[in-house]
């Protein structure tokens, strides 16, 4: 029997729409659930007090500091490398075998699971270079993990700067580097910042790569060589070892709020950037 195409259109349309609604509902549910259970546990004290008794009591202050320091370290290392790569790919070379190798490397790196980064960081930074479980090992591992994101977003941002800008700069007698630093980078800055903010979000949420490189010490880190625990790792340990469900929910809520805030900021920056050039 042949189905009337118009009926088929209706049926399939309804089916696809309901699947989309289910997807969106699941997402909204996850976020709402965590916030509803977690936010009551979060007050000022929870944010500014250190964990007591392995996290059974107290707040999460030292893990917030750990997260910030580790993320900042990763961004500081990855940004020059990523933006430099993007400048080279777009301004200083032409499409050929070299760019193909660089792009292939970046794409493969983007697909490598975080647990492999964890193993790699553990062997190279923690044992071979003897940094131990430390902020330094964790930051470097995270830096290489977010490098592909920064390369890709910076490249897109630099590519979207109109070619006319470059022509004008050259016609005024500038060298290539002057053109890059004074014309291209300032114009591409919002796009580059978007990539960085996106990477901050990824670093905050990362667990597998961090737990084997930065360790899980609950103290506030004293130096680059001291071990530290991030919010994600703290949440994982609280939940998995059943130390305190209330504090686990609270930590999860803080994590979700931080990441939602970062994503909304990214979205806002991206839209401003797109509007500027279209």
């Amino acid at each position: 029997m042949r189905v009337d195409p118009r009926v088929e259109q209706r049926v399939v349309g309804a089916l696809l729409w309901s699947m989309t609604v289910v997807t969106v509902a699941v997402l909204v549910f996850i976020i709402a659930f965590v916030l509803k259970k977690g936010l009551p546990a979060v007050d000022w004290g929870f944010l500014v007090e250190n964990p007591v008794d392995m996290g059974k009591g107290g707040g999460i202050f030292s893990t917030i500091i750990g997260t910030i320091v580790l993320t900042a370290g990763a961004i500081l290392v990855a940004t020059p490398l990523g933006v430099g790569t993007a400048i080279f790919l777009t301004e200083y070379t032409w499409e050929g075998p070299v760019t193909r190798i660089i792009r292939f490397g970046a794409e493969c790196l983007a697909g490598i699971p975080s647990i492999i980064f964890g193993l790699f960081g553990f062997i190279l930074f923690v044992t071979k270079l003897k940094f131990g479980w430390s902020i330094l090992s964790g930051s470097l591992t995270l830096a290489f993990m977010i490098l592909p994101t920064i390369i890709r977003t910076s490249e897109e941002a630099i590519k979207s700067v109109p070619p006319g800008f470059r022509t004008v700069s050259f016609s005024l007698g500038s060298t290539k580097w002057q053109m890059v630093t004074r014309v291209v980078l300032p114009s591409a800055l919002p796009g580059i910042v978007t990539g960085i903010v996106l990477s901050v979000g990824r670093s905050i949420g990362e667990t597998a790569a961090v737990i084997f490189t930065a360790g899980s010490a609950l103290r506030i880190p004293a130096s680059l060589f001291s071990s530290s625990r991030t919010m994600s790792v703290h949440f994982y340990i609280l939940a998995r070892e059943g130390i305190s469900m209330t504090n686990a929910y609270g930590t999860a809520a803080v994590l979700i709020v931080a990441i939602l805030g970062i994503n909304i900021l990214t979205y806002y920056l991206m839209h401003r950037f797109i509007r500027k050039y279209s």
Partner: protein, 297 residues
Amino acid sequence: MKSDMKGRGRNKLERTDRLVRLSLLVVAFSAVSTLAVITIFMFEQGAPIMFKYGLRSFLAGSDWYPTEKIFGLWPMIVGSLYVTLGAMVIGVPFGLACAVVLTEFSSRPVRRVIKPVIELLAGIPSVVYGFIGVVILVPFIRENLGGPGLSVLAASIILGIMILPTIISISVDSIQAIPLSYREGSVALGATKWQTVKMVLLPAARSGIIASVILGMGRAIGETMAVIMIAGNAASVPRSVLDPVRTLTSNIALEMGYASGEHRQALFATGVILFIIIMILNTVANVTSSRMKGSKG
């Protein structure tokens, strides 16, 4: 005299320019060299023990008693395969449905709301997904379907949700890249919207969609923390979807904390196998998506 000064200044600038180019070239190889170093370290740490105990017993051995030096990875290989396939069964239909609705079946304002919401999915940390699995999904499965709850099924569902953003965003991009004239031609021939999607758009966007599915697979195989929390982690081949399962990634993460000597090497060997699977998937996705660009260009 003055013009000479200028000339020298100019020379200096050009020298800086050459220097900058050289240093950028070095920087640009950072990603490739990281990849190379990771590859070397993984194989250096993991390969010797595989050959010492024999590749065959390593890959096909079904017992994992690391303290007694029995290293069989078969249950973990099968486990990773099961949960990944399960994630595909759930993630691919929902992901493609969302992609089609977002590109063809919705109006602009609706799209403006749904798309960012779905993109937020990608930002939720994997530990939070795992946690949701533990507190909601696992008890639900235990009470309604039986078994311990920590199972292939639970892991598949959570992973299926986690790979949605990957599948949706790449599929949306490849469907949007199809020229408008394809749609106009199809509609002009009297096709309905769904017929256009089914017979024109999906075939035209095929390589991009395949790439999105492969990359989603890569994400599912590589996911660690969420799976540890909900899969039960028993190192044996599961007999039903309600049985607990251990994946390659959880095998590494569970035991890395206390492993030493040959046990640690065996975990790196697990990493090597995972690494090889991921690199194959990446290369396939890379080739398919570059073919897509080639055929459009």
